[in-house]
């Protein structure tokens, strides 16, 4: 038999990956594993023998657990698989997207976006937010928007949300703030309340990112600098944490905007 490298053992079989990720939750009996994989004992035992032979798992009194080597490698594998899952869901999108929009440490954690869905509006709503985003805005408790593009919601839906007393933080480029202030002075004035903060960031290379207590929606430019309307959304709690960290990143590069009369 060919010499097995640890990375081959980890990645070559989906069944093995499933067993390893399951054991990351804690020690399991063979019956637990069989039930979890909904599979008969013999094909599983083959994989378990391979994992044991390669020192990734150990058996004691009928209970299987990860060895220290297994613990490290499976945690890393999970991290890699999470990232790959996000990219593999929409490979063309990520191949074209301008990724310099994100700081490296958040790009490295992109797997936290979890179960992402790429939504495109139909033609009659081509300039609108995707339906799931619009629906979620009907009952939000907090709202973050990082944006370098002017969206019409900033002078419609978002103003209404602000007036309900919902906590809102905007990070805009100077250009977006200027347009809001000069072309929509009425909306601009209505944002002047305690629950709304506006920050100005010298450079935002993503189109927009909205994070609420329920959903994150990202929109990126292409590498050529083009924009097409879309919402890359996720409801995972890890994705909301990721989005909040993205906010803190841009916040640290921004100045507070003082409202003009």
């Amino acid at each position: 038999m060919k010499d097995e490298s640890i990375s081959d053992v980890l990645f070559f079989s989906e069944k093995r990956r499933q067993i390893l990720l399951y054991l990351l939750e804690g020690p399991k009996t063979i019956d637990d594993i069989k039930t979890y994989l909904n599979s008969k004992s013999s094909p599983i035992m083959v994989q378990i023998r391979i994992l044991t032979r390669n020192f990734l798992i150990q058996e004691k009194n009928g209970v299987f657990s990860l060895t220290p080597l297994g613990e490290y490698t499976v945690n890393e594998m999970k991290d890699i698989l999470d990232m790959f899952a996000v990219f593999d869901k929409n490979p063309e999108y990520w191949g074209e997207a301008e990724l310099t929009a994100f700081p490296a440490y958040l790009l490295s954690r992109i797997g936290e976006l979890g179960d992402v869905e790429l939504c495109f509006p139909d033609k009659a709503h081509i300039f609108d937010r995707a339906r799931p985003v619009e629906r979620s805005l009907k009952s939000v408790e907090s709202l973050i928007e990082i944006s370098s593009i002017f969206r019409q919601e900033y002078v419609t839906t978002y103003v209404d949300i602000a007036e309900k007393g919902t906590s809102i933080a905007f990070i805009f480029t100077q250009e977006v703030i200027d347009r809001l202030e000069k072309e929509f002075p009425e909306s601009y004035q209505r944002y002047k309340c305690e629950n709304v903060r506006i920050f100005v960031c010298p450079e935002i290379k993503l189109a927009s990112c909205m994070v609420t207590d329920k959903i994150i929606s990202l929109a990126l430019f292409t590498k050529r600098g083009n924009f097409f309307n879309h919402d890359l959304i996720s409801y995972n709690s890890s994705a909301l944490v990721w989005g909040t960290d993205l906010f803190h990143h841009f916040r640290s590069l921004s100045m507070i905007h003082n409202f003009q009369d």
């Binding site: 990375s7 390669n54 490698t73 191949g95």
Partner: protein
Amino acid sequence: MNSLIETVFFSEKRKAVLILLFEKGPLPIETIKSELDETSVSILPQIKVLIDNNLIIQNDGIYQLTHLGETVAEKVSPFIKNLQVLGVDPKFWSEHDTSEIPEKLFNRIQEIGEFEIIEIDLRTIYYEPNSIIYEHIKNADSIKTFITYYAPEYVPIYYERLMAGAPVSITTSDYIVNMAKDYKTEINNLLQLDRAELNVCSADVKIAEVTVTDKIFLMVLYSTAGNLDYDFLAAESPSAVQWGNELYDYLRSRSINRKEI
């Protein structure tokens, strides 16, 4: 388009190209071929797969990672490198408790590079130093040792090095300090020397020993069952010594400096 697992992990050559471009930056095909000891016929098909999957691009004969490729390589490359170190002796890493090594440091375990395991003759412990370890300490111009087990057989050689002018830093547990109370006066006299340092760690750290000299890094880990097999991991590369220094500094930072016992 393939899944990223297939693209990255199902070919040793593709994995090697990704890591090479990640470490060296953009390269012409001739360099890629010579670095990886490949021919055009053997490597170009794999490079094409990487290009088709948006991980690398080619401009004027120069190959480089895309931003997506860079993100993927940054995630995968340290893990593959660590596996090269861990894969040399997977049994050792599966049977020894590494949980006390900070994650940030363990994620850089590749820096240990080549290492050997020195097995101690259990009949000689307490009475006679292991000859290989003895030689390493004897040749040291500085010594830092974190130790949580009783090893009186090494006291004379440490004393000799200290008297010869080598700085010696010891970090140990309350338990070992209490065992040494019989030599209180002698130890307190030695601690008058600027180059002698004693730190006491009250936390129950499950690492048996970390010794770093100017030339070598030595580590003794407890087994997963909590036993001590006295197996010394020994590594001599400058990066291993650096890694060992960081581990020692971490353990020292969890301790309190004592001028006397």
